[in-house]
C-alpha cells in the first residue's frame, strides 16, 4: 500500500464528514435544505467511495502486508530531554495516528456504507422536520466520531472517538428536545457512556504506566500497535502495581470491557439503549443498531492480544455477553413498542457477539457484526417506514394488517426477521450458527454457554415474528393503521438495498466445520485477528447447526401457533408464570434498581450538601466565628461612642501605658 495514497484517503475519509458537520454547524442552520439534503448523505457516500478505494488498494497487497500506520500530528508530548539544568523526565506523549488494516477497513465500510444508506433514507424521513440541518450536522458528526474510533491507532484518540460518539448519540437521542422523555433518555445515555469512558481511561492508564518492552524497559506508549506487539507471551506487563498484583492484565481487561459494555449496552450498563429509541428512527438504525453499539465488539476484538493474556477477563466478557443475550431476549418477547423490541433484539444479538469475542472467536464475532449491521439497519428502517406512515405510532397493538398496504416494506421487514432468526440462506444463519458453533469448543463452561446461546434462538425468532404478525398480519387495529400507505421511494430504496444485502452477505463466509468452506471474510481478517480456532468435530458441529436451525424454526412455529392459529392462548405465560411475565415486561426491574441504588442516593447526597452541609456546616462555621467576634465586639462597644475624641483618648491612654512599659524596661 502506498503510504501517501493511504494518507490522502484516510484524510479524505475523516475529513469529509467533518467538513459536512462544520459547514452545517457554522452556518447556524441557514443553509438551504436542498443543499443539505445533497451534502449530508453526499459526504458520507464519498467517504464510502474512498473506503472502497482503500479496500481495493489493500487487496492488491499480500495478506501479510495489509496494515499501515499513518501519523497525522503530535497531539502532545510532556517529556523533557535533559539539558539546561533539568534532568530528563518522561511524561505523557501521544500522536494522532490512524491504522488502516483489514479490521478497520471492515468497520469503515460498514460505517460509511450502511451509514450512507441511512443518510439517504433520512432525507426522506426527516424531510418535514424543523431541525433538518441540525440533524445532518449531528449525523455527520457521528460518522466522523465513529470513523475516528475505528481508525485511531492511538489509545487516546480511540477514547476521544469513543466519547464523541457518545455525544453524537446523546444529541441525536435528544434531537426532539421539546419532548421531556427524549431529553431524559439522552442524558441517561450520555451519563452511562461517560461511566464507560472512565473505565476505558483507567484501563489506558494501566497500560501506559506498566507496559514493558522486550528489554524490560517501560514503554510509556499509547500507540496501539506497540501495545499489541508487546503484550504477548514473554513480554508481560509488569506486575508491580501494589494492590493490583498479578491481576493487572485482568484489571485492564475488565476496565476496557466496562467501556465496551457501556457502549454496547451490555449488562450492567444496558438500560440506556431501550430509552434511546426516543430519537428519530434513522438514528436508531445507524447508531443503536449498525455501528455505535457494536463498538464494544470492535474494542474487544481489537484488544484481543490483551484478552488472550487475561482468560479471567475474557471469561467475564463471554458470560456477560451470553447473559445479556438471554435477558434481552426474554424482555423482547413482551414489549409492545416496535422499536423497543428491535432494540432488545439488538442488545441480545450484541450479547452474542460479545460472547463470541469473549471466547476467542473474534472473526466469528466480527462476521456477526457485519451481517447484523445489514439486517438490523434493515429492520429499523422498515420499522421507520411503518412509524412514518402511522404518524409516529410505535405500539404494535395499534397496527395490524399492514402487509397489504405496505407490501415492499412488509417483505423487507420479513427478510430482516428471517435473517435475524437465523433461517437458512439468509445472512444471520451463516454468521450466528458459526458463532454459536464456536461455543462448543472454546471459552469457559463448554458447552453450557452454547446451550444458553442456542436457546436464545427460540426467543429471537419468537419476538421478531411476533412483531411481524402483530404489525403486518391480521386486521388493522387503529385508524392510522387503516390509512397507512407505502413509503416514498427515497425511503424505500435504501430499505430494499439493505434487504438484498441481508440476503446475500452471509455467503461471504460459510464455515461449518468443514462443510464446503468459503472463508473470504475470515481470511480477510486473518492478518489482524489470527486464524479461526479449532472447532468441535464435524459431527458435533453438524448436530449443533441442526439444533440451532430447529430452535429458530420452533420460535417461528410458536408465533404461528399463538398468533395465527390461536392454538396456544396468548396469555398463557402471563397467567401461569406471572412472575416471569412481570419480570420480562418490566425489563428485569433494572431501571428501578438503579434508581433506588444509585440515582436517588446521589441526589439525596447532593440535596444534603446543598440544604444541610452548605448552610449549616460550612457557612455555619463562618457565621459562628462572626457571632463570637460580634459578642466580643459588643463588650467593647461601650468604648465606641463614635466621638473622635474618645478614640483619641483611648489611643493616648494606651500610648502612655506603652511608654510606661518601655520606660520600665529601659531604666
Amino acid at each position: 500500500m502506498n503510504p501517501t495514497l493511504i494518507l490522502v484517503l484516510s484524510a479524505v475519509i475523516l475529513g469529509l464528514p467533518t467538513a459536512g458537520f462544520l459547514v452545517n454547524a457554522l452556518t447556524l442552520g441557514r443553509l438551504p435544505r436542498r443543499l443539505v439534503a445533497w451534502m449530508g448523505p453526499g459526504v458520507v457516500l464519498a467517504a464510502f467511495a474512498a473506503t472502497v478505494v482503500t479496500l481495493i488498494s489493500m487487496l492488491s497487497r499480500p495478506a501479510t502486508d495489509r496494515g499501515i500506520t499513518i501519523v497525522f500530528w503530535h497531539w502532545l508530548n510532556a517529556s523533557v530531554a535533559s539539558g539546561s539544568g533539568v534532568s530528563a523526565q518522561a511524561g505523557f506523549n501521544a500522536n494522532f495516528s490512524v491504522r488502516i488494516d483489514p479490521l478497520s477497513v471492515l468497520m469503515m465500510l460498514v460505517i460509511t456504507g450502511i451509514g450512507g444508506l441511512i443518510h439517504v433514507y433520512s432525507v426522506g424521513y426527516m424531510a418535514h422536520d424543523r431541525g433538518f440541518n441540525r440533524f445532518f450536522a449531528y449525523m455527520n458528526l457521528f460518522i466522523t466520531s465513529m470513523l475516528l474510533l475505528v481508525m485511531s491507532n492511538t489509545l487516546v484518540f480511540l477514547i476521544i472517538g469513543w466519547a464523541m460518539v457518545a455525544f453524537a448519540s446523546y444529541a441525536l437521542i435528544a434531537f426532539w428536545y421539546d419532548r421531556p422523555s427524549a431529553v431524559v433518555a439522552g442524558r441517561k445515555a450520555f451519563v452511562t457512556q461517560v461511566i464507560g469512558d472512565v473505565g476505558l481511561v483507567l484501563g489506558a492508564f494501566l497500560i501506559f504506566l506498566n507496559l514493558r518492552g522486550p528489554a524490560g524497559n517501560l514503554l510509556h506508549t499509547v500507540n496501539m500497535q506497540t501495545i499489541f506487539a508487546n503484550v504477548g507471551p514473554g513480554a508481560h506487563f509488569h506486575n508491580g502495581l501494589g494492590a493490583y498484583g498479578a491481576g493487572l492484565v485482568t484489571a485492564i481487561g475488565i476496565l476496557l470491557f466496562l467501556g465496551a459494555a457501556a457502549k454496547s449496552a451490555q449488562w450492567p450498563l444496558h438500560t440506556w439503549l431501550p430509552d434511546a429509541m426516543e430519537g428519530p428512527t434513522p438514528v436508531s438504525a445507524l447508531i443503536h443498531a449498525a455501528t455505535m453499539v457494536t463498538a464494544g465488539v470492535y474494542l474487544v476484538a481489537r484488544f484481543h492480544p490483551i484478552y488472550q493474556q487475561a482468560p479471567v477477563a475474557a471469561a467475564v466478557v463471554a458470560c456477560v455477553g451470553i447473559g445479556t443475550a438471554l435477558m434481552a431476549g426474554i424482555i423482547g418477547c413482551t414489549q409492545y413498542d416496535i422499536k423497543r423490541v428491535i432494540a432488545y433484539s439488538t442488545m441480545s444479538q450484541i450479547g452474542l457477539m460479545i460472547f463470541a469475542v469473549g471466547i476467542g472467536a473474534y472473526s466469528a464475532g466480527m462476521f456477526q457484526f457485519f451481517t447484523h449491521a445489514c439486517f438490523k439497519a434493515l429492520l429499523f428502517l422498515a420499522a421507520g417506514n411503518v412509524i412514518h406512515s402511522l404518524h409516529d405510532d410505535q405500539d404494535v397493538r395499534l397496527m395490524g394488517g399492514l402487509s397489504r398496504r405496505m407490501k415492499w416494506t412488509y417483505w423487507s421487514f420479513a427478510i430482516g426477521a428471517l435473517a435475524l432468526s437465523g433461517i437458512p440462506i439468509f445472512a444471520g444463519f451463516f454468521s450466528k450458527e458459526e458463532l454459536l458453533g464456536n461455543g462448543l469448543a472454546l471459552g469457559p463452561a463448554v458447552p453450557w454457554l452454547w446451550v444458553i446461546g442456542v436457546s436464545v434462538n427460540v426467543l429471537t425468532s419468537f419476538y421478531i415474528f411476533r412483531v411481524v404478525w402483530l404489525a403486518f398480519r391480521g386486521e388493522p387495529r387503529s385508524e392510522h393503521a387503516e390509512r397507512a400507505h407505502e413509503a416514498p421511494p427515497l425511503m424505500l430504496i435504501p430499505v430494499m438495498i439493505l434487504a438484498g444485502l441481508a440476503t446475500v452477505v452471509g455467503f461471504l463466509n460459510i464455515d461449518f466445520a468443514g462443510f464446503a468452506p468459503v472463508t473470504v471474510f475470515s481470511a480477510f481478517l486473518q492478518p489482524v485477528l489470527g486464524s479461526p480456532h479449532s472447532q468441535a468435530s464435524a459431527a458435533i458441529a453438524g448436530l449443533a447447526l441442526l439444533a440451532g436451525v430447529v430452535l429458530s424454526l420452533l420460535g417461528v412455529g410458536l408465533v404461528w401457533a399463538v398468533y395465527e392459529r390461536g392454538l396456544i392462548a396468548r396469555d398463557l405465560i402471563s397467567k401461569r408464570a406471572a412472575w416471569l411475565y412481570r419480570l420480562s415486561f418490566n425489563k428485569f426491574y433494572w431501571d428501578e434498581i438503579y434508581d433506588v441504588a444509585l440515582v436517588r442516593p446521589t441526589v439525596a447526597l447532593a440535596t444534603t450538601v446543598r440544604g444541610l452541609i452548605e448552610p449549616n456546616l460550612i457557612d455555619g462555621a463562618v457565621t459562628g466565628i462572626r457571632e463570637v467576634v460580634g459578642t466580643l465586639a459588643d463588650d467593647f462597644r461601650t468604648f465606641q461612642t463614635g466621638y473622635l475624641k474618645d478614640y483619641a483618648l483611648v489611643f493616648f491612654f494606651f500610648a502612655v501605658v506603652g511608654l510606661v512599659v518601655l520606660g520600665l524596661r529601659l531604666s
Binding site: G642, L644, A648
Partner: protein, 101 residues
Amino acid sequence: MTGLFPGFLILSAGLFSVGAVGVLVRRNPLVVFMSIELMLNAANLALITFARYTQTMAGQVFALFVIAVAASEVVVGLALITGVYRSGRRLDLDELSEMSE
C-alpha cells in the same frame, strides 16, 4: 548646660501632655486646634533639644518642616471651621460627630 538637657525634655513632655489633654477635653474646634499647635511645638522643642545636644542639624531642619506642616494644617483647618460655621452649625465637636450611632 548639659544639666539642662532633662529640663528641656521634661518641659517638652509637659507641654505635650497639656496639649493632648486640651485636644481630648475641649469641644471648641478652635481651642482644639490651638492645643494641637501646642503639641507640635512641644515636639519641636524636643527636636531642637536633641539636635543641640547631639550636635546635628537634622532636628532643626525637621522642626522647620513641622512649622511648615503646622501652618498648612491651620490654614486648612480654619477654612473648614469657617465652612462649618457658615453651614449654620454650632461649633461643637461632639455635636458635629457623624460617627456615633
